[in-house]
Amino acid sequence: MIHISKRKEMPLWQSLSIRLAAIVVALIVCGIITTTMTGLNPLEVYASMVKGAFGSPRKVWILLQELALLLCVSVALTPAFRMRFWNLGGEGQILVGCLASAACMIAIGDKLPNPLLIFIMLLWSLAAGALWAVIPAYFKARWNTNETLFTLMMNYVATQLVAYFVIVWEVPKGSGNIGIINQTTEAGWFAQIAGNKYLLNILLVAALTVAMYIYLNYSKHGYEISVVGESVNTARYVGIKVERVILRTLLLSGAICGFAGLLLVAGTNHTLTTTLAGGRGFTAVMVTWLAKFNPLVMIASSLLLVFMGNGAAEISTAFALNQSFGDILTGIILFFIIGSEFFITYKLSFSSHDKQTNQATLATTAMKEA
């Protein structure tokens, strides 16, 4: 017989060791599956994953810049999530940000000095992302519509909008591609710092993450967000204008998603496609949840996801495995990490029918010692 009961509280070291144990168990399970399904030595596979992610300075830079982009989107979703507003429209908000940046580069790319151009791109991408988020927010605040569905639907609109403009701006005509924008002039491209293409992106996101942490935890706005998220009634009771907080927070959330779009277009890809956001709007949902809405912890959770992604790509080439195999391993590891939360919140006690009381005592003591 198994009894499940809720734990009251747990010291930090204990919850950390439960999470660590979950990862170890996940690696063992992954190892068994790797061996039985592919016949490979799991240790070699793991080593190759690490090599794929950290193997060379170039790989580390790619990892860091992927981390920066994912982290940026996660940080963008965080204020909305803290308010229990489930913004699943990150993908669309990034895309309209990309669209706005690309439009500026194409329309006024050669007419303005680069810093001014980038400043205008910044404004437009922020505005576009904010607009995409504030529409569902307005409906939520005014008529209490379901924000999950609404933001999700906005993604499809954004994708189609981008698809339309890709045809409008395609180079050469009929190719269905825009190609690299301003390849010769590099107008609207982020400058390289110390000869590194990605460093600016990384620094910007690092600053943004710290700023968001401070905003959420120490500012009056952040406090209002927490109160609204916990209880709308309490917020009304102390005179917080709930509708205003929802709109303001989603403007911010959408604007940062738009900013991620700018980083993609001006910082890394210099082009526009419908798949430019690359699912980050959804992966970021997982990152924020794993980090329990703490921007600083998100550095770790997005690192984990980016590492798994890059590592999975490496093993698929190194061992000639299907790319999906890497995804299976990622899935198993995430399953165990998320599953470990159950053991942090709840306690299991085992006992049998005949000698129940004694064994129950033994089982609980054993659990405590373990």
Binding site: Y218, E230, Y237, G239, S349
Partner: protein, 509 residues
Amino acid sequence: MPEKQCAVSLRGISKAFGKIQANHNVDLDIYRGEILALLGENGSGKTTLMNMLSGIYFPDSGTITIDGKPATISSPRDAFAYGIGMIHQHFKLINVFTAAENIVLGLQDEAGFNLDEAKTRIMSVCDAYSFEIDLDQKVYDMSVSQKQTVEIVKLLYRGTEVLILDEPTAVLTPQETDKLFAVLRNMRDSGKAIVIITHKLHEVLDISDRVSVLRKGEQIGELLTSKATAEQMTNMMVGRQVSLNIERPTPQDPRERIRVEGVTVRGSDGVVKLDNVSFSAYTGEILGIAGISGCGQKELLEAIAGLQAVEQGSIDYIEDDGTLDSLIGKDPLEIASMGIALSFVPEDRLGMGLVGSMDLADNMMLRSFRQGRSFFTDRKAPEHLAEKVIDELEVNTTSVHTPVSNLSGGNVQKVLVGREIASAPKVVLSAYAVRGLDVNSSYVIYDLLNKQKESGVAVVYVGEDLDVLLELCDRILVLCAGKVSGIVDGRNTTKNEVGLMMTNLGGAQ
């Protein structure tokens, strides 16, 4: 008198939740033909102990013996099999079903299910104990007391021999309580074992044969009710000497502070919640509001506090110089910015007054966090306030950084009341300020309200315990289905009078 027959016997029962020891080494015997009162303050482990009998929790250690044989109760189904049934504070009934349907729900052993036959059997149970019940009435049409009757009949119909009731009178009027007690006595006389969980002493004295007192999860002692006194039981329950008298100083220089005239409020479902309500609250006075729960008390306070839209009528705040400020159509922030210091202790503490996941300090600044021009919040002042409240109201917490949802009910309420009073209010509105609180905490709250009254605050006290309303309040406004049934002088009224006014407008039979 024949030898008492022991139905259930608990020995050395312990149960812990994480670091909190809810029960420690408790011994308890439950006899047939006897009503046992399980008395203890909030968080003393009464409900946990009984939940282990009804199969909700499983003891960490100890043994349960039923009719002399060792028993394992690991689910409510097991408990039923042993003839143990428990009525929880929150009823577990299906609203759209009738009484009869709810009573037979989940029974599998009926050969060829026939509701009419079942009804006949249910009626014979009801007649045996003189229950008044309409088997075809839907649960959503029932009063709280009728729902409770259905719960009890449901257990008896299933052959329950040991009946546990968790705070059964918390939601009943005095008349309904009397009826319940009469039924319980009938059940006792027919040989059932009855356990009633309560912290109300007069009920213990009224109904029980034996009383067992728990304190901090441990059994302190057992008394025969016939030989026990209220003082003795309180001292066992609290662990030290407590005075049971509530003070009622005479109001000093009362002046009209809040004037409510002809207020009508409609709920979100379009039902009229308050119907043409008029009254005044005076400075230096505690105005009690009595009524069966859900008769418009919540809407009345929320209308004054600016949280409830008013359809008709006026609510005015009267300043010291006699100026009238209308409160209608203002939200709490606007009321505060008019310079009106109005404190509100709402009924739903963690759902409205406080934020459960935030710590004490952060909850202290709910009202004040906007102060100052800085973009950032000032965390020092609320921390000091939290420390002051912890100190003055003896809040039991590990630190100012404990989330309030981890505190017990009484401590949560102290935090809320402490914050509301700290703002030096002119008006204090409180809804069920002592609901779920133990004796000790309740008296702390009464003292606080009296201090506010003495310093010239107009206090509105919505309460459910008539004994307390009669002892604490200067005047009592009785609500009946959203209407003012009458306003009586707290010093010259009786429990019976107020009880009748609660059920009939104007108290007419």
